[in-house]
Amino acid sequence: MGIIETNGLKKQFTAGKDVVEALSGVDLSVSEGQIFGLLGPNGAGKTTLLRILTTVMKPDAGDATVVGHNVSTAPSAVRSAIGYVSQQGGAEVAATGRENLMLQARLYGLEPRTAKKRVNELLATFEMESIADRVVQTYSGGQQRRLDLAMGIVHRPTLLFLDEPTVGLDPQSRARVWDEVRMLHRNGTTVMLTTHYLDEADVLCDCIAIIDYGQIVAQDTPVGLKRKIAGDVVRLELGMNHHAYNIQDLFHSQLFVREIKQEQETLQLIVEEGEVALPIILRTLNENGLDIRTITLDRPSLDDVFLMQTGRSLREEIS
């Protein structure tokens, strides 16, 4: 059994007259010792799922087992074994970094002397000794994130949840956070993070689940997911007259085309050998009088996986 197991998790929110279904039956299984990524656009349900797994929220239906304890029936057991760094981090800005860490350590049951030692250890590991006694208000975004991470692991949890860990950070701070997550992983902590950044999911995670509109649409290693696309991706941006033809019909008979997906004027074809397919595609479109504005040939990316599974592009979702 995995360190996280969920079964049919559902959660609804009412905003005035509208009922928003944040999670509509989430089944997830996360193995111990991984860096697990939950990838999806904003509003897909990532934070809601995390809040349920960390016992902050109760699900409407379904259940979840985290580190062997049921989140509904044994929430305090879950809380003692996990760490959680929310999107905002939740550090008290009027207090110093050290004070924030000390409070966190004491609330996890560490005795004053042990807490003090642990706090000093963390300050050294995250290179925050020079800013430890300044109030968090004065910290930069990157420094605040490091403090948030340190607060999340003060009690050495076996499982750490990170909600969008690098949002709003400059590239240097992002790389630092990634390094720190890898370090935690090397020390045996299982990490589950949510993100809407493709590169983060691709580079950092051992296993990814793609979530969209409250449901898991795909789950595998990054390589595994891309391999399912099984082929190269030809991406075209068509001109004004793309409505004139049913492009699907044009290519359906062509054997080398595995799959076609069209979204307005963006056409994505999954083909066997991109270099061979490209001239044939161009010729076909030309012969039928279709304008082509741009064309690219790529190895599959996670965005392609997302597009294939959901019919939408993740890149466009976030722009």
Binding site: V56, M57, S80, Y84, Q88, A91, E92, A95, R106, Y108
Partner: protein, 253 residues
């Protein structure tokens, strides 16, 4: 027990952070001093006290003023909590294995420290102006004031966690403040008030507190009014804490 230990941890931490900004405390302490200096000559001119000297007026009105400190400070303490809620602080604390009650109570106690200091200062300055001291009665009076303060702080926290907007909290507190004060008998004796006001006062915890405080300040510790005052305020404070703790859980769900 675990809850007491955690409450103490949250309290000490929150106090240390609050003391970093001494301005709020200093401004808070100036309040009772300015009241006494402004109220004393004014109170002398009321028909019910015109016969007395200003020293006597101090004796009559200080107990009421001690009670007045509670809502004026404590009712607005929820505003700070909204800021913490928005910053994600409460969500982070919520994930630790510590109890919700400990988090709410620890922060509430921090807000009561200022109230405590205000109370001591009020009695001190009143004494200089002619207040007759009854140590035991007044010490018990301070405890009563703190219980009322806890009631107000917890109610303010519960409101803050429910509406999650500091402007709404301020508006509600402002709306409740004047009726609470006027219907308690501390500014005007209730014997002078119309019947409907006297009935309304029976549901105002401050009315019972003022009655009890007046008896305590003249040393009548075992008076029925004192018992009533403690009973009403302690039960309500307990209910308010329960409401605040529940709102804490609901605020994040």
């Amino acid at each position: 027990m675990k809850v007491l230990r955690e409450t103490w941890i949250v309290f000490i931490h929150s106090l240390r952070v609050a003391l970093r900004n001494p301005m709020t405390i200093i401004v808070g302490l100036l309040q009772p001093i300015t009241w006494l200096l402004l109220f004393a000559p004014l109170l002398k001119n009321l028909p019910s006290t015109a016969a007395f000297s200003s020293a006597e007026a101090i004796n009559i009105f200080t107990p009421g003023m001690l009670v007045m400190l509670a809502p004026i400070t404590a009712l607005f303490s929820g505003i700070g909590l909204v800021v913490e809620l928005r910053g994600g602080v409460l969500e982070r604390l919520r994930v630790t294995p510590s109890s919700r009650l400990a988090i709410v109570l620890g922060k509430a106690l921090r807000d009561l420290v200022v109230l405590f200091l205000q109370g001591i200062l009020l009695i001190l300055v009143a004494w200089i102006m002619g207040l007759r001291l009854h140590f035991v009665g007044m010490a018990i009076g301070i405890v009563l004031m703190l219980i009322v303060g806890l009631l107000m702080v917890a109610a303010s926290y519960a409101t803050a966690l429910t509406v999650q907007n500091e402007n709404v909290v301020a508006a509600i507190s402002n709306t409740l403040l004047l009726p609470l004060l006027l219907l308690s008998g501390l500014i005007l004796p209730l014997e002078l008030a119309p019947r409907w006001m006297q009935v309304a006062a029976t549901v105002n915890p401050l009315a019972y507190t003022v009655e009890a405080m007046r008896k305590l300040f003249v040393g009548q510790i075992t008076n029925d009014a004192v018992l009533q005052g403690f009973l009403v305020t302690t039960i309500l404070a307990g209910l308010a804490l329960f409401w605040a703790t529940r709102s804490f859980r609901r605020a994040l769900a």
